[in-house]
């Protein structure tokens, strides 16, 4: 399977003291700091367990996403990625983590947002390419396992797949060990801002 439209979500450690609407100002400041990378900010803070606040760009959307009532940073890759599946996965995870790190370091938040590294939600946002079946899981599993081994530096992990046919193809990658964003980025190798695609300053 040619993995495209990869989505990666890292959850916050605690949602207390986090106001979704804070991210309207933050994402707007990111736009001001960029050079035409981002298209717009979309505000869905009025919705229950919704997509939250999105930073829209041509290549990908980055959002503080509350889907499933679980707040986290979602990297939603829209445009095709080149390279092997392993390279594409690594790129998507690293880019998501770079954005997590940027949020954690955001001065306006004064350290109120931290992401947990022990659980990642991986999705393919295209039912036509990847229906949510056990067959699809079997096809993707080896590559995800490879990625998870690198991500967690050889620590134990599990892949949970729920094959509800109505949902998009998704897998929860979990480890019993605690990891922070910097460690995960280090495990994945090079920095996200050295990669092609959206610049991460």
């Amino acid at each position: 399977m040619d993995l495209q439209k990869i989505n990666v979500k890292f959850f916050v450690t605690s949602r207390e003291r986090i106001q979704l609407t804070d991210f309207i100002d933050i994402f707007n400041s990111w736009i001001q700091d960029s050079d035409g990378d981002y298209y717009d900010v979309a505000d869905y803070s009025h919705m229950h367990a919704g997509p939250g606040i999105l930073l829209i760009s041509y290549e990908a959307n980055i959002s503080m996403d509350d889907t499933g009532n679980r707040l986290g940073l979602l990297y939603n890759r829209k445009q095709p990625l080149g390279g092997s599946n392993n390279e594409k996965l690594k790129f998507a995870f690293k880019t998501a983590l770079e954005f997590c790190r940027r949020v954690e370091n955001e001065p306006a938040l004064r350290g109120r947002v931290r992401f947990r590294g022990d659980e990642v939600h991986f999705l393919i946002n295209d039912r036509l390419v990847a229906p949510n079946t056990n067959e699809a899981f079997r096809a993707v599993k080896p590559e995800l396992e490879g990625l998870a081994r690198t991500l967690y530096g050889g620590a134990e992990f599990t892949l949970d797949h729920n094959s509800d046919p109505k949902q998009r193809f998704s897998v929860f990658i979990k480890t019993p060990r605690a990891f922070d964003v910097d460690t995960l980025l280090k495990n994945l190798g090079s920095r996200g801002d050295q990669l092609v695609g959206i610049s991460v300053t």
Binding site: H46, N61, T67
Partner: protein, 798 residues
């Protein structure tokens, strides 16, 4: 042989055959893992062939536009008629609050319309006739919002669904998946008949004369793609209402409004409609004029068709600001307009579709899932009573209710929409509708199920009460996504909802029953004219800064089918609007007379007094003292009008001749694909079809009703264009016309269709179509000169 674009396709090129001949990479952006059958092929089996073909055509048009083979204006109107709309910043730049940034979009100079960059995301509008949905459709809508948009389906004030931030390259796939569950985006935008709306209670309403649903449904189908509705200067909106007194249908503000009536004729009760024409909101709102007190049901479609023809013929085309039918009716006067329409009606050739649907309109179209049982002492969750008071309507059928699902700002997430589909399956059948107040209703709920339904809705965050109250603010997209937006209508609506929700339990009943509607500009997509308290976005210069404001409109009437429009009172800075709402409603509670409506109250105290009451709210602190007044709700950027663009509501005025010429180009492209795949016979046939269509396009400049019959087209083309040497090249003479006739003769003689012949035919077809374009341009410039001369002559006479 019939050469109507769709008919030709159906007769000559089978959809499935077509799939075989397109190059694989052109068709498949993804494939099922089995590798046996593409998803596109699977979907094709699930939709009507006509619809499948239309989407294939649109995909080809996208490809042709990318190759520069379709003019951007023609393409813009083409995509609009497929529901593919522009969105804010799609000119490729955005003001970030400090400076204008050029957006990084890789498409370069490629555009999808004037000043509309190809890779800029856009909006797609999905037509939901009369708001009718079933659970399967809801699930697909949910899936598509996740995969192609931002995870949200937005219910509009015309019962449509909209997605934002969609890439145009994704639209054919999106359309196919919608078509597979019976939904089209066709004619959701552009200068055509928009979504036909109807009261969401139709069929279950206690006040209705009869159920207008079957009429709205049939009308939507009849006018969709109808040749007489393709040449309008502006959009055309139709609404149906089951009764005159209640507001649900809003017929007074529509281009064409039909209110159910029954009249005794020779002792027999006959159905018909009180029929209105020429209403509309926008910058210049008009109340619709009564066309006929009782239009018999069998005359509904012929009259709609006749009105369409008159609008296409006499409606304004050049001045977009005065191109709606309301201006035509006003200019002619309703008497003269009626006379012309009735004259046109007499000329129409009878169409079986006018009446064939009538045999089924008396049938019950919906049925309940469960027996109707009243609500008796069931356990009720906390909050149930408040929800029941505002969100439940007792149907005319005992034991059944309509439950309104309140959607904040008309938005519903993919997860919620999917879960709501499951809830619908649990409690009702396919009896779900969107509303013009941006909510969703479940009809035919057994009353005894309400506590369980409420709990299920609460579980997915949709148990909010206050449907149809002052808290349930309606808003158009405004500056969030609309190119025309001046101020943030959704931002204001979000703020008002939050503040009013907090106070909802304390609100006086008279205030709670009021409605607030917000538009981001004067175009009135938020329907501010028909709200008790309405707002539309404007800007004012204050202390040298451009400051977002809203014009306050008071006294509009939602009831009586939008019976009166509100009047502008004062321009107030955006950030002070919540104070306006509190002040006006507080005074209403304090000073209203017994039983006095809000409209009567405003009328009694007078506009002057209201203005005085709000006077201090027109002022704001200096920028240095508080800069927050200089930005809009939910948008930290300092306010600017820099991002406003050219709206696409008006579409592009593209003649039918231009559309048909574009279709002939597309057919020639298809012929080339057949050629490349080695099917020379189909290449020859399709190339000939392209030439016939190009000839038909030219004929449309002289005879709008030119038939689709090949022989007729050829005869008339020869007579009107060849014999008169209108289709004549200075150097090549009649050579290009001969290509057409020669190709036709060869087909009649069952000529050989080898590679050489096919290649020759393709080349000749290209030359013929180029010549047709030249001829059309020549005719257009002659007509322009003629118009200019007559305008000059008129001016001289004046």
């Amino acid at each position: 042989m019939t050469f109507g674009i769709n008919n030709y396709t159906n007769n000559k090129v089978n959809k499935y055959e077509l799939l075989e001949y397109y190059p694989k990479d052109f068709l498949d952006r993804g494939a099922f893992m089995s590798g046996v059958e593409t998803w596109k092929e699977r979907l094709a089996r699930l939709m009507p062939p006509d619809l499948a073909r239309e989407i294939d055509i649109f995909e080809t048009q996208i490809e042709l536009r990318k190759q520069g083979k379709i003019d951007e204006r023609v393409f813009a109107e083409t995509r609009l008629r497929r529901g593919v709309y522009g969105q804010r910043y799609d000119n490729g730049q955005r003001h970030d609050g400090i400076k204008v940034q050029k957006l990084k979009l890789p498409s370069g100079d490629l555009t999808k319309g004037p000043e509309t960059v190809w890779d800029a995301p856009g909006m797609i509008r999905i037509k939901i006739p009369f708001g009718g949905l079933n659970p399967e459709q809801m699930e697909v809508l949910a899936d598509l919002s996740e995969e192609y948009s931002d995870g949200v389906s937005h219910v509009t004030t015309r019962q449509d669904i909209q997605y934002h931030f969609v890439h145009i390259d994704d639209t054919p796939s999106l359309m196919r998946r919608l078509a597979a569950v019976g939904i089209t985006t066709r004619e959701a935008c552009g200068n055509v008949v928009r979504n036909v709306t109807a009261c969401p209670l139709a069929g279950v309403c206690r006040d209705q004369v009869f159920d207008v649903t079957p009429y709205a449904k049939a009308c939507s189908k009849f006018l969709l793609g109808h040749p007489d509705t393709q040449d309008f200067g502006r959009k055309f909106k139709i609404a149906f209402s089951g009764c005159k007194e209640q507001p649900c249908g809003l017929t007074s503000m529509h281009d064409l409004g039909a209110i159910a009536r029954v009249r005794l004729v020779n002792g027999e009760a006959r159905r018909g409609f009180e029929f209105y024409v020429g209403g509309g909101l926008g910058a210049v709102p008009y109340q619709a004029k009564l066309f006929d007190e009782f239009l018999p049901e069998e005359e509904l479609f012929p009259l709609a068709q006749a009105i369409s023809r008159v609008f296409a013929r006499l409606g304004e085309k050049r001045n977009r600001a005065r191109a709606r039918i309301k201006f035509l009716v006003a200019n002619l006067g309703i008497e003269e307009f009626r006379r012309i329409v009735l004259e046109e009606r007499q000329k129409l050739v009878a169409d079986p579709r006018w009446t064939e649907y009538l045999s089924k309109v008396h049938e019950q179209t919906e049925s309940p899932l469960k027996p109707g049982v009243s609500l008796n002492g069931s356990n009720r969750a906390e909050g149930f009573d408040a929800w029941y008071a505002t969100n439940v309507y007792h149907q005319r059928q005992p034991g059944y209710v309509v439950a309104t699902v309140t959607l904040p700002l008309g938005d519903i997430t993919a997860s919620q929409l999917r879960a709501l589909a499951d809830i619908a399956r649990r409690f009702v059948k396919d009896t779900i509708r969107t509303t013009v107040e941006q909510n969703i209703v479940l009809r035919w709920v057994s009353e005894a199920d309400l506590p369980a339904l409420y709990s299920a809705l609460c579980e997915i965050g949709l148990g909010e009460p206050n449907a149809g109250t002052i808290v349930d603010v309606t808003a158009c997209p405004g500056t969030d996504t609309c190119k025309l937006g001046i101020a943030s209508s959704r931002g204001l609506a979000r703020e008002l909802r939050t503040r009013l929700s907090e106070k909802s339990l304390e609100l006086d009943a008279a205030v709670k029953g009021l409605r607030i509607k917000v538009s981001g500009c004067f175009n009135s997509c938020g329907q501010h004219h028909v709200a008790d308290i309405g707002f539309y976005g404007i800007s004012r210069n204050v202390n040298g800064y451009t400051v977002p404001h809203f014009q306050v409109m008071l006294g509009g009437k939602w009831k009586e089918n939008a019976g009166a429009y509100g009047l502008p009172v004062s321009a107030i800075p955006s950030k002070r609007i919540p104070e306006v709402v509190m002040r006006v409603t507080d005074r209403y509670v304090r000073e209203r007379l017994k039983g006095e409506s809000f409209q009567d109250f405003i009328s009694r105290i007078g506009k002057k007094e209201v203005k005085v009451m709000l006077e201090d709210l027109t002022r704001i602190p200096s920028h240095d003292a508080d800069a927050s007044y200089y930005s809009d709700w939910g948008d930290p950027r300092e306010f600017t009008l820099t991002d406003m663009g050219v709206g696409e509501c008006a579409g592009e005025v593209v003649s039918q001749a231009q559309f048909t010429l574009a279709a002939s180009e597309r057919e020639l492209f298809e012929a080339q694909i057949y050629f490349d795949s080695g099917d020379f016979k189909k290449a020859v046939l399709t190339a000939y079809g392209a030439m016939v269509h190009a000839a038909q396009a030219l004929m449309k400049t002289q005879n709008y009703d030119i038939s689709n019959n090949e022989e007729t087209i050829l005869n008339e083309f020869r007579q009107r264009f060849c014999d008169t040497q209108i289709f004549y090249d200075k150097y090549a003479g009649s050579k290009f016309a001969e290509y057409l006739f020669k190709a036709g003769d060869a087909l009649s003689n069952n000529g050989h269709a080898g590679r050489e012949i096919a290649l020759q035919r393709l080349q000749e077809a290209q030359l013929f179509i180029d010549a047709a374009h030249s001829c059309y341009n020549k005719l257009s410039s002659m007509m322009s000169v003629s118009r200019a001369n007559s305008a000059a002559a008129s001016a001289g006479e004046g």
